[in-house]
């Protein structure tokens, strides 16, 4: 007895070709738009002298988290500058920001819908599982067919890869809001929108921010992989280091990625869960205490 060979991949390839043929102008438009967006942001980050941007990053760290984090940021970013990896690092940051923002714009509403409808949740969950467990490199093939080589396929692959935790954690955030508090909103005659905006989102914010944090982290890891399809930035450096077996460059590029990752992680983490030691928190406390004195 033989089991018939099922060439599922062929169907997917046919589908990809069909999409490519039918939506060529649209795909080209998306490609140009994404490339322009990433180039614009990286241009903005690279326009001033690196030290100015380093100072800005340090200030942001101080405002949102703490003095120690600001010091770590200063040392880390200066290290990136001194390794002569500032330019690719900013390109990668631009790609991560664009991909993460688009992923969140898609993920948060999907998460809200999933939290409100069990049916929708049941449909979305396996799709998210599929997206998350599929090896990241596999996404690179169809996006290259759609968008060619460059930034756009990198952004697209990154969005797909980084999306699931955004949806999952938004759904969780809203579902775990205390039932009685939501009931209170209903009992006083709140509309669905008022309850969402006034109770569920603010109370779920820490969890949603954990999702945002995860999305950014995944986007960063994928942005490096996207170097293989010509997305530039640190990914290109890493890919170059692999092809030339250049241990020194590989280590430096890798270290720059780690520094970016730590910075983004701690910064977004601080937005979700205030440490109370940030400059903003200190100023806010002073302002509250001042009238009492």
């Amino acid at each position: 007895m033989t089991i018939p060979n099922l060439h599922l991949g062929d169907y997917v390839a046919d589908g990809v070709d069909w999409i490519k043929d039918s939506f060529e102008p649209l795909l080209d438009g998306i490609s140009t738009g994404l490339a322009a967006l990433v180039d614009g942001i990286s241009g903005l980050l690279l326009a001033p002298p690196p030290l100015v941007v380093v100072a800005l990053f340090t200030l942001l760290a101080l405002l949102l988290r703490s003095w120690t984090f600001a010091a770590v940021t200063l040392v880390g970013t200066l290290l990136v500058v001194s390794m002569e990896l500032w330019e690719p690092a900013m390109e990668t940051l631009a790609l991560v920001l664009v991909a993460a923002v688009i992923a969140l714009v898609i993920a948060i509403p999907l998460g809200i819908l999933a939290a409100r409808s069990d049916g929708f949740s049941a449909v979305v969950r396996p799709v998210m599982d599929f997206m998350q467990t599929m090896p990241a490199f596999v996404y690179l093939v169809p996006v290259v067919i759609f968008f060619g080589i460059g930034v756009a396929p990198g952004v697209c692959a990154t969005i797909i890869f980084a999306l699931p935790p955004g949806v999952r954690l938004t759904e969780l955030a809203i579902r775990q809001v205390d039932r009685e508090t939501v009931e209170a909103g209903e009992a006083f005659g709140g509309t669905g929108r008022q309850i969402l905006g006034g109770i569920q989102l603010p109370l779920g914010l820490p969890t949603i921010m954990a999702g945002v944090n995860q999305v950014i982290m995944l986007a960063l890891s994928m942005a490096v992989v996207a170097g293989m399809v010509g997305a530039g930035g640190l990914g290109a450096e890493v890919v170059g280091a692999i092809s030339r077996v250049d241990v020194a460059l590989g280590f430096e590029a890798g270290l720059a990625v780690v520094i970016l990752a730590i910075y983004l992680d701690r910064l977004t983490g601080a937005i979700g869960q205030s440490t109370g030691r940030s400059l903003l928190a200190v100023l806010r406390r002073r302002r509250r205490v001042a009238p009492a004195l």
Partner: protein, 403 residues
């Protein structure tokens, strides 16, 4: 299935739970109506059907003569905004908003402008004794204070009907008592229609003008605290009330006896002597015109007066101890101990309503006969039958019918 006569246990085998079955009751305007039952008796479900958080499968609920069971979403919102507000067991405050913003929350949902809603929130906070706390965050407040905010929020909404779902159950006993006192005080000023859910019988007896006892989704008895104590509808209620501190629930008016050993002030000592011998009592209450209490005469004095041939009754200087009908029994013991004469229950005009001899006072504290015996079983059946007969398969709550 319920309509075919199945009970809760039978339904449970099918994997279903009937939370509330055939609950029929009216709540009068200005009344505190307490629904009392243990956890799982369906009382929380019951209160949630009243403001439409849950929809009953059968029956109807009317508030202010308006049927709220079959309203559209918008209609239901309107009812919740203007007629019914709710106080929650775990306060359900918004932790990211200040106390003032929390109290103003119902008004904000309604679209009231900032100035007015802040003013009304401040008023409501003042009513519950939290004036000046508007700028604090709920996390900075103690449990009792948080529930005051919950109460202020419901008051700021300005609705006639207040639903209180185990509102004080999460508080420490001392704080709980304080909150009960405050609720009663507020109620005497505001006269809201309150549906109060609790599993604490003492709380039910303290607060409730009337009490509905729930068990397994059905209401087994509705009545005043005294009716439930003295005429429990079945064994379940009787067992339940067995541990109640009767001296705090029962009032003088509920236990007083018809004043038999009473004599008119115009009568002579001989008549008094005869009456004392007839009733075997050492003292008589003396009433004047319109049955107003004039005083008390003692056996020894009367005997002296008869010997001397006096015309008038020898009224004692000691006088009779007067109590009002709504005095709880616990406050009568001191008086009863200090006087051998029966306590005189008088109304606001000084008219004698009844007497409480010491024996009556003591026997009132014992559980009534039949309540814990077999005799109660018959009563239970008939009462339950009467309830099912009046129920039309659902809940009827006329919270403001007389308005």
């Amino acid at each position: 299935m319920l309509e075919e006569g199945a009970d809760r246990a039978k339904l449970r085998k099918e994997g279903l739970t009937a939370a509330v079955i055939d609950a029929t009751f009216d709540v009068a305007p200005g009344e505190i109506f307490v629904v009392m039952g243990l956890s799982g008796s369906g009382k929380s479900t019951l209160i949630r059907t009243v403001n439409g958080l849950l929809e009953p499968t059968a029956g109807s609920i009317s508030i202010d003569r308006q049927d709220v069971t079959h309203l559209s979403r918008a209609g239901l919102r309107e009812v919740r905004r203007t007629k019914v507000s709710m106080v929650f067991q775990h306060f359900a405050l918004l932790p990211h908003r200040t106390v003032g913003e929390n109290a103003a929350y119902p008004l904000q949902l309604r679209g009231v402008n900032r100035v007015e809603r802040e003013q009304r929130a401040e008023e409501a906070l003042g009513m519950v004794g939290l004036a000046g706390w508007g700028g604090s965050l709920p996390s900075e407040l103690s449990g009792g204070m948080r529930q005051r905010v919950g109460l202020a929020r419901a008051l700021a909404a300005g609705t006639d009907v207040l639903l209180m779902d185990e509102a004080f159950s999460a508080l420490d006993p001392l704080i709980r008592k304080e909150m009960q006192d405050q609720l009663l005080e507020l109620q005497s000023e505001l006269g809201k229609t309150i549906l109060f859910i609790t599993h604490d019988l003492n709380e039910a007896m303290r607060l409730g003008d009337r009490i509905a006892m729930m068990r397994d989704g059905r209401i087994v008895q509705v009545g005043t605290a005294e009716q439930i104590l003295n005429e429990p509808a079945n064994d379940y209620v009787a067992q339940f009330v067995a541990d109640v501190d009767r001296s705090r629930v029962l009032t003088a008016g509920a236990v007083m006896e018809r004043p038999a050993a009473v004599i008119g002030v115009e009568q002579g000592p001989k008549a008094a002597h005869k009456l004392m011998r007839e009733h075997q009592v050492p003292a008589l209450l003396v009433t004047g015109r319109n049955r107003t209490l004039a005083g008390v005469v003692w056996e020894d004095d009367v005997a002296d007066a008869v010997k001397k041939g006096a015309e008038k009754l020898p009224l004692s200087d000691e006088g009779a101890i007067r109590v009002t009908p709504d005095t709880p029994l616990i406050e009568l013991f001191g008086d009863a101990a200090s006087s051998r004469a029966p306590l005189a229950v008088v109304d606001d005009n000084g008219r004698l309503q009844g007497v409480i001899p010491r024996v009556t006072l003591l026997s009132a504290l014992s559980v009534p006969d039949g309540a814990d015996g077999t005799a109660g079983a018959d009563g239970a059946e008939s009462a339950a039958a009467a309830l099912v007969a009046t129920g039309d398969g659902g809940t009827v709550l006329d919270t403001a019918g007389a308005n």
